[in-house]
Amino acid sequence: MLQFPQRISLCGFGGQGIILSAVLLGTAAVTKGGLYAVQTQSYGSEARGGQCQAELIIDKGPINSPVAETKNLLVAMFQTAYEKYIPILDEDGVLVIDPQLVTNLVRPIANTFAVPATQIAVDLGNRMAANMVMLGFLSECLGLLKAEDLLEAVKDQVNPRFVELNLKAVQAGIDYAKDNNLYYHG
């Protein structure tokens, strides 16, 4: 389980659902888990493309400074975003990447997990669900949040037309961690 305060950065390009992922994580932590969370973001003015980053702090009590200077979890879903944010990851932090989109690792991090989230989503029929695969994986591998809380948050927050696909994608992410025995023991 990731140490509190959990200082998380999710990054990629606009349109991958990076910010929605952070919102779902925060919603599950606050409304289901009884925790405190603060979420901020930065993104380009483009509707698709452009770098995008969402930051999330989760803790057991109220959080003051809204942005953490370093992170203990970085989830990178695109090479350029990875290169921009990898310097702020703690030495003993956790790095999760999509290996098809982050191909050149420039800094060795002991706890690195590769999750082909985009390919898994494509196999499920829609690459847009890659973020949900990633959330499912984070839930199982890092114990970041309970799978049932995540599934509830998805049902509450996601467009009803895509709920079924997204629930499948979350489950696929959970299964990927289980099938490959990918667990973080920090």
Partner: protein, 389 residues
Amino acid sequence: MSIIRANQLDAWEKRVDTGVHFMLGNYALVEGAISAGCNFFAGYPITPANEISERMSQRLPQVGGKFVQGEDELCSIFALAGASLAGAKVMTATASAGYNYMQEGLGYCYTIEAPVVVADVMRTRGDNFASYADVYQLRYGCSGDYEAIVVCPSSVQELYDYTIWAFNLAEKYRNPVIVMSEATISLMRERLEIPSADKIEIFNRKYTTAKPSEYLPFGAPENGCPDFAPLGKGYNTIYSLNPHNEKGGIDWDPDDFERLYKRVCGKIRENADEICRTEQYMMDDADYVIVTYGSEVRPSIDAAKLAREEGIKVGVVKLCNIWPVPETAIREVAGNVGKIFAVEMNIGRYCNEIARVAAGKCPVVPVTKNRGQIHTSAELLRVIREETK
């Protein structure tokens, strides 16, 4: 215009979305307004305040209110003046540059003593970066003699709570009240706990009991505000920007002129202690204090904790409102510490007010940053170390 009536209890109940939420700051401000009974909004789009208009346009129809997209800021603020006099609880939202455009209408609201609530989600010019550069504009933007009330939330929870407070102050003192927000907290999501409707204190305006023939639209006790008259019931009133007497007639007599502006300012100045709120953190044994407001409160509390780990006893005083200046609280603190750190996100503005109040009691060190981001706790700690050697 539709106003929520007593028989529309369903709509009245729906206004409070009780429960624990993970909510965007701008949305929390809207929920605070709706909880307070806001039933009219007029505004013109501007980043980073847009989510306020967006959610207002969805929420107001649910509670029997009206949403108006103005053709500009000036139209919006004058629409507010009219709706407020008609009996609605009114709000607009804008950001720095848009707030400039509203000054004429806002000045009118101050003079005719119309309760309006304005959210200013401050930003730096040209880009949506965080800033508190306009703290003086919020106080001195309009022409003429008036006093401003400006509340300063520092979290998503306070965006909700202080907006309710703003509506209550506006109705109680018949004055515009500004909710000062900025890009950091407005676009941040955080835990928000909305209480049940019966736990929320609401102040409703006082209506006259006088007959139309005896009613004085601007007759009020010293340092008080006049009672409202219901519109359309025969209480004929002129609401003029010009100097006016108790009957509401335009009046250039210097005695009447003086009496009017003494009261319009006095109702805020002389009630400052009742209006102002501050909160203290770690002040019991503090040798030094950070006096700050808005989102800068957050890194300040962290910095004080870090300084204490190094044996430097720092406390924090949060100014929940900056105008009127919470002079009593600042003066008391200044008498009990060795130094005040005035932390703010601009080139050094409100530190002048703090220095004025603390004069002769303790030195004030301005800790300012105008780079589009709030201070980090590490930045504040460095200054504290340096200044307490």
